[in-house]
Homo-oligomer: 302 residues x 2
């Protein structure tokens, strides 16, 4: 087994993350998932192979940074998948944000092959990835966590082991529930205030520092007020994440009423062609219901 | 007109607030609303009168700190109400948290009598009142605001003029919407995580500092984890405040779907005899739906 790292998924997030590992002297092996191999990683000495199995062969660590649950499943267990090349004792780190329930099954299969499975989803977006400032929520057994921590520290600034394999994805879902519902809360409050004739910027200002304070009140409320809906974090991705929450909740028999309602508002945004907007554009679904815009504009159809 | 301040409503909040004014050398005139006059205010020289009209007679400033909209209406405009004693040029400051729509009407009647109306609801609770650290959201015309600001500064630490009369109550409602919905968000997220087998204390720890950060995640999530539901801020009062939000939203034709749903969860808490618990006990309504407790306990009925 070598100290090479197989890194699969070098898109918007994975590309800068892999770059941090390479600059720290780690040898990368890439099996390009959708787009080609990033030029700077190739120039930095990354080895390009053609399948996940080949990338994993002899690698001590396999890192995945993929869009969704089926991608991870295919790369790990599909034809020419990671598991075909994985040597006993190797560690798979899935940094994608995927289904916590499926993650439990993936971890069991990897562990049955004599390897360690670590789920380590991130928050902090593209900026966090570029600046190695990601928040990383880790599900891992303790010895595996100790072993991968130095790698994670090259990519993240706030790293917490929250439990055994699967716990990282559960925590990421919890994060996405809170962020979406906090955005919806701020949207309801600002829309109420604006329609009652009060400047939403003054409301935001008055409430910062009190019990209504949140990162969302700081960041997303300002985007709503300025109507700057360039992502940031895309509505479509947050819709996917709330979908994971609701599927998980169903499997666990937990009722999440506001998550369910908020998911419907995100669906309305997608219907309006806003899937690529920042999630703060969630407010436009409420504006649609009220036939009123936060900036005082009326219904476009009128 | 004298520099005396008529202070009506010296309950849990009003009592320490009036004390700050008195200690700063302001002469108080009290017309006890429900309970008797607080002994320390009497000992400090407060004059006790028997009706709001008498309290207001010749006073330059009348401050109200009352439970709900009907109380404010009765004290201002009922038999022997403030308006019967109010001299032109005096200022009424309503620091209660009441209906923004009604406030608009109250302000119009007070202004028609040649006086100023200032709505200045607070957040920060009993501790904030005692420590003169309240957040105060002020609706006032600019000259009236300049005049009352030194008084407000004796009671609050963060004071913002958000607009003309009525705007303060609108902002307070916005505050209560956000706080309730942020509590509900944290409750859904922690319950989901706990039922998925992850320690909610680790989830809170991992998410603080990221985009899910809020005062509610700091304070109320900890109360949920510790199951310390002594108020704090009582469920029954928050239920009242969301009632104001929904009545206002109906009058304004604004849809507030998550506020409406969360109000129903508060009603469930009241049905369970928890009206006097801290609003973080909102999580128990979700626990009831899931037949599962955050601390791993099952349904009590099982």
């Amino acid at each position: 087994m070598t100290d090479a790292i197989a890194f699969i998924g070098t898109g918007i997030m994975g590309r800068p993350m892999a770059g941090h590992l390479q600059r720290a002297g780690r040898r990368l092996r890439l099996s390009p998932h959708r787009s080609g191999a990033p030029a700077e990683l190739v120039a930095g000495g990354a080895e390009i192979v053609s399948t996940p199995a080949e990338a994993a062969r002899g690698a001590g660590t396999v890192i995945l940074m993929l869009p969704d649950t089926p991608d991870v499943e295919r790369v790990l267990f599909g034809p020419d998948g990671v598991i075909e090349g994985l040597a006993p004792g190797a560690t798979v780190i899935d940094m994608s944000s995927i289904d916590p329930i499926a993650t439990g099954a993936f971890a069991a299969r990897i562990e049955a092959a004599g390897c360690d499975y670590v789920d380590a989803p991130v928050s902090g977006g593209e900026v966090g990835a570029r600046e190695a400032a990601l928040t990383i929520m880790v599900g891992a057994r303790e010895p595996a966590y100790e072993r991968v921590l130095p790698l994670l520290q090259l990519m993240g600034a706030r790293i917490t082991r929250v439990g055994d394999p699967g716990a990282g994805q559960v925590t990421k879902v919890a994060n996405q529930i809170i962020v979406a519902l906090n955005i919806e809360a701020v949207a309801e409050a600002l829309l109420f205030a604006a329609k009652a004739g009060v400047d939403p910027a003054m409301v935001r200002e008055a409430l910062l520092g009190g019990f209504a304070s949140s990162r969302v009140l700081e960041v997303h409320a300002q985007r709503m007020i300025d109507r700057t809906f360039a992502p940031g974090f895309r509505i479509e991705l947050h819709q996917k994440d709330l979908g994971l929450a609701l599927a998980g909740a169903r499997a666990l028999s937990v009722a999440l009423p506001n998550t369910a309602g908020t998911q419907q508002l995100l669906s309305s945004c997608v219907a309006a062609g806003q899937g690529d907007s920042d999630h703060s554009a969630l407010i436009t679904a409420l504006e649609q219901l009220a036939h009123y815009r936060l900036d005082g504009g009326g219904d476009e159809a009128e």
